[in-house]
């Protein structure tokens, strides 16, 4: 990657780290939330569904500000994390949190569709064969929604790679710390003569996005083929 300067390369590496962490940690939570929304009926179901989708409809700067308030030293959660030395403020983990929160609704949507496509009668059949609820989930439900999980993961990863508004609001734009790929492009475009470097990062950005889509497509096809072959 000699065509990228060290600072540019730093932004790419940071973005990959942020997006990977955001989608890896977000995925299990998204699976749980998707299961809850797809399979359970309870008071407040509609409210929870709407709340999950909030980051999708709120202006990202608002989401960023809400994160800032939640993780500020004066707030309970932020204060606690600060005391144990794990405050995400102005730290790459904060960028990962912002990216994860923004990607969450997309992951939940894709996985929820997967849950809704699973025939509940198959799970019922597994019960009659002696499998407990948890075993049914691991051995029947999860393998059947694998294509949905892969799609959700890829979508979440791509969204996390591109997250801008909430990240810059929450953790600012510190090179090497919180300056992800989109933030670096933004900064380069603010200075005269930065267009060439910005174009290189734009190209890099496109390559990563296309790569993620292709890999998820291959994985999803493989998972689908197992059901049909």
């Amino acid at each position: 990657m000699s065509w990228l300067g060290p600072e540019e390369w730093q932004a790419v590496a940071l973005s990959l780290r942020v997006a990977t962490v955001a989608s890896l940690f977000g995925l299990p939570l998204a699976i749980g939330m998707a299961w809850l929304l797809a399979r359970k009926r309870f008071p407040g179901h509609g409210l929870l569904s709407a709340a999950t989708h909030l980051p999708l409809v709120l202006p990202p700067v608002v989401t960023g500000h809400l994160l800032l308030m939640t993780f500020s030293r004066n707030a309970p959660l932020g204060g606690f994390l600060d005391r144990i030395g794990m405050s995400p403020a102005f730290h790459w983990t904060g960028a990962a949190i912002a990216a994860g929160v923004m990607a969450f609704p997309l992951m939940v949507r894709a996985i929820r569709l997967g849950f809704e496509a699973v025939d509940p009668r198959l799970e019922q059949t597994a019960l009659t064969l002696g499998a407990g609820r948890l075993s049914v989930f691991w051995t029947v439900t999860l393998p059947l929604i694998l294509p949905g999980i892969i799609a959700g993961g890829a979508l979440g990863f791509a969204k996390a790679m591109g997250e801008f508004g909430a990240t810059i609001t929450f953790v600012a734009n510190i090179p090497g710390q919180t300056q992800t790929l989109p933030l670096a492009i933004f900064s380069l475009l603010q200075v005269p003569g930065g267009e060439t470097a910005a174009s290189r990062l734009v190209l890099m950005s496109i390559l990563i996005a296309v790569g993620a889509v292709i890999i998820s497509e291959i994985l999803a096809r493989r998972a689908q083929a197992r059901l049909l072959a």
């Binding site: 025939d119 009668r121 198959l122 019922q124 059949t125 597994a126 019960l127 009659t128 064969l129 002696g130 499998a131 407990g132 609820r133 075993s135 051995t139 029947v140 393998p143 059947l144 197992r226 059901l227 049909l228 072959a229």
Partner: protein, 355 residues
Amino acid sequence: MSLHVAFRRRFAGLSLDVDFDAPNGVTAIYGPSGCGKTSSVNAVAGLLRPDAGRIVLNGHTLFDDRVNLPPNRRRIGYVFQDARLFPHMTVAKNLDYGARFAPDPADLATRSRVIDMLGLGELLTRRPAGLSGGERQRVAIGRALLSSPQLLIMDEPLASLDPARKAEILPYLTRLRAAGGPPILYVSHAMAEIAALADQLIVMAEGRVTHAGPLTDALADPIAARLIGGSEGGALLPATIAEHSADDLTRLDTPAGALWLPRAPLAVGEQVRLRILAHEVMLSREHPQGLSALNVLPGQVLQVSTGADKVLVQLQLGQARLLSAITARSAQALALAPGAACFAILKTVALIQTG
């Protein structure tokens, strides 16, 4: 084994109030669609929660006002109308699915016996998507059996198959019955299947059990035959292949006496079932002369039951009971009354292979 079922459950369009016992062997639950057959077996399997009642299998309470075991702890195998194979697993993985949860999993010998009995050996590495409807249903039966169930429920296992596939599966089911597997609750609205398989018959209508008892008795009983409806009444006789004659006939020994049928491709000594529908039995007060029918048996009238359409005459023939459906005019002309001696002329006798 013993299964006792008594429960109530209200639905929007149907109120179920079911009470029956099922002993060993195959107990068929028969009735028109919507009468509550499937809901009843679902309650036994734990897939439907009754409003109140008691379900006991082999002394273990599955459901009462304090207990409601989840389906996975009832040890009841279930073969659904649609095979419901796990699409992401091979046939072998589907078959072995239940074993890992069973407290006494089927050993390897049992596994290969089930695979042989159901003809699954060639299919083990295949995936469900590539199987025919009949093959899928056979895998589903094997999968349920290999979960070592205390009871096997089969809900219309042949209903979604075309006649050719049905004919393909039925021998496997009779083999399963002959192999002495777990007791079976067999839901069906096809009396032909029930006649081939069942030992006990439970008739349901509008959410209630209207008749319960041994199948052979039910088919030869005018009141039960009317509940079963249509032209399904008659007799079901156990029979043994006795000899093959030079002129291509086969003699069968039955509790009603010896019967001659067109040569059957079965060995002497084999056990079969004979089904003699009520409208295939003619009656005569005297021994008929110059008649082409091969099977004419002497007997005695037990009861004459006059219904809306036909008169059903129950006969004692040897150790067996038969039904004959005749018109009211004939019944009057023959002066049939309990105790009257008469001859039954069997026009058609259907042979059902059971092993």
